[in-house]
């Protein structure tokens, strides 16, 4: 199953499970929160492996995703209602642990972030087409626009960093021995 197929399948499931705008808000909140948590984990991971530059970048991405999540909070600051049971939306915008490398460059890190934003665009576009409720379709379309904005931002951000050199992953020291 390709990544796009997977996203369309996830969108179909979401479309079936989301009953109203409140459910939608809860989903977006969960997606953005998970992405934020993962970026924080990756920032820790890179800090542990002394890649400070990428650690700082992931930390910044975590803050940004956190902001997105908080936009879904009610005016009184309370979190959206809980998700309907059985929704397996997770990972829509989350960067995979498997894609990490301890010597990775900021440009590579941003490329992963870009992938995440693109996944989110695909999800909301699919939802904007597939949801039965016109209100949900409208909300999803709005989110797709917002996520496209994020894609553009990340792309612009990437230009500030050079392409990695050919031997970016070369490490003259062997791995630790214990």
């Amino acid at each position: 199953m390709s990544a796009d197929d997977a996203m369309r399948a996830a969108a179909r499931k979401l479309a079936a499970a989301i009953r109203d705008a409140e459910d939608f808000r809860a989903c977006v909140f969960a997606i953005e929160s998970e992405a934020a948590e993962r970026y924080a984990e990756l920032a820790d991971l890179m800090a542990t492996h002394n890649n400070r530059e990428v650690a700082a970048l992931f930390r910044r991405l975590a803050e940004i995703e956190g902001l997105h999540a908080r936009k879904m909070l009610a005016p009184d600051g309370s979190a959206p209602r809980l998700l309907p049971a059985g929704i397996d939306f997770v990972g829509a915008e989350t960067v995979s642990h498997e894609a990490m490398h301890y010597l990775m460059t900021p440009r590579q890190a941003l490329a992963l972030a870009l992938e995440g934003e693109c996944k989110a665009v695909a999800l909301f576009e699919a939802l904007a087409e597939g949801a039965a409720d016109p209100a949900i379709r409208r909300l999803a379309a709005e989110m797709a626009v917002e996520e496209r904005g994020h894609v553009a931002l990340v792309q612009a951000w990437m230009t500030k960093f050079p392409e990695p050199e050919a031997d970016w992953d070369h490490d003259p020291d062997p791995p630790r021995l214990d």
Binding site: A47, H49, N51, L82, V90, G91, H97, E98, Y102, P175
Partner: protein, 274 residues
Amino acid sequence: MSAAPAYVAKDYKSDVKPVWCPGCGDFSVLAAFGKAFAELGLAPERVAVISGIGCSSRIPAYTRTYGFHGVHGRALALATGLKLARPELTVVAAGGDGDGFSIGGNHFLHACRRNVDLTYVVMDNRVYGMTKGQPSPTTEPDWDSALSPGGTGLRPFNPLVIALASGANFVARAFSGDPNACAAMIVAAIRHPGFSFVEILSPCVTFRPDQRGWKEQVRQAPVAATGDPARAARRLMTDDGFNLGVLYQGDRLPYRPPPGEGARPADLEAEFAA
């Protein structure tokens, strides 16, 4: 409207920072543990994660449950002792392929046949990572390494075959690249009574960078779980190691020690009297 979940995945994460290499599949397994425990609504203090030695065996320290990071190869023995002494706890043993199938191989056989209500998660990356890239029992015979130049020439150990043949009550395979499926698999394994074995293909990007390609090789097995060991065995004959899903779900009753008889230690003295 569903009831508020008692716990979320984050409740099971400790503040100890993993030392795993970036890109390691074990991160996803750790995340899957949290999701699975939350899904099951388990209080963190009612869960124990038990391990031996190896990269993946570091996992207990990264969870906020009780944990035991023992010696190499003995996770299942520690877990068995704990579960038999404290049957009300949820006990999960975890580790790698070297720990579980080589130095701990005998315990694997006997844990399967003893069928204590445990879940055993093996993060299989077909290599000894912590000792710098030596072949493990599941390594391909032609994988070249410093310790076995040109490859071991040995047929790899097939964990699912051994688990099934030894009497495990639940036998499954998952892939770390799909943490949600991993979590769902761990949930199913913990729910299933008796000894549940889950092999999670978890790439070692440092010593086996080729395993980054696993995500293209794995596939959901085209058939559902069976309760018939013979059918499961036949499926394994054509298995290339990349079919994911639950292979076998048996209905053997878990091993439980018989209940006590309520005697006091002093009651045991009669037989000593002259």
